[in-house]
Symmetry: C2
Subunit: 151 residues, 2 copies
């Protein structure tokens, strides 16, 4: 199959069979997800800094949280009607995101994989490996933000 | 040891060794955590309803997300200065929460355990067992809300 078809299928597989929350709630929940991830990224960033004392338990807790959120099926929170701010919920998602869903699904899969790898490395307690996986996850975040997140 | 001492030690163990986010950010991140959990609780609630078709993958994704967030060390987001709303961040936490931290830590541990059990049952794919664990987790949420969450 062509890559575009594969990603379209992946996206379809990620779609929920359930009643979706309202567009406003979808934006609220996805913002909550990324906000919560940012706290945990910050915690790990401090831990892997050169010279910082490394607390494997803290890193593991933060990495597991990120992996859990990343693997939760966030694609379901980018449904129709969420292309722009709704009610009290402002979104920074660019319109381009919604016209490139197969690309977004691919980036989402990369993000999910990078988060799972970070959780795996965190369980090993090896600071150097965690630092490498953390860098990879950060690049995955940035890859999507640069393309699809506005100011 | 007396239970109060044990819970105080558990709380101390849950405290971060890292630089804490600002009080406003702590409130922002903890609200994000509970908001994101609420989405995932809603997803599982739909799945375990009588007569609903059960999608084990959806339930597992949602349960893993809840367990990851619950186990992330949320106690670190209830630091000094977060007893009331700060800047744009409104909090519904009651003042009683901050004068009963050992009790809150105990409820937090129960919540964490119930979330871990739900993730375990979700991995089994057994709807009845998931439903029981989901009910237990819901009661754990309510136990804390009734005591420490305002309107």
């Amino acid at each position: 199959m062509k890559p575009a078809i594969v990603t379209a299928l992946l996206l379809a597989a990620a779609l929920p069979t359930q009643a979706a929350p309202s567009a406003e709630d979808q934006i609220r929940f996805r913002k909550a997800a990324y906000s919560f991830i940012s706290w945990n990224m910050g915690r790990i960033k401090e831990q892997v800094a050169d010279g910082a004392s490394y607390d494997p338990q803290q890193v593991q807790a933060a990495a597991n949280a990120i992996a859990g959120v990343a693997g939760s099926g966030l694609g379901a929170l980018f449904g129709p009607g969420t292309e722009q701010s709704v009610g009290a919920q402002k979104t920074r998602a660019r319109p381009e995101l919604f016209s490139n869903l197969p690309d977004v699904a691919r980036l989402g899969q990369d993000f999910n994989k990078a988060a799972a790898l970070l959780a795996e490395e965190a369980a090993s307690g090896d600071k150097a490996r965690v630092k490498a996986a953390f860098g990879q996850l950060g690049r995955s975040c940035k890859g999507c933000h640069d393309k699809y997140r506005g100011d």
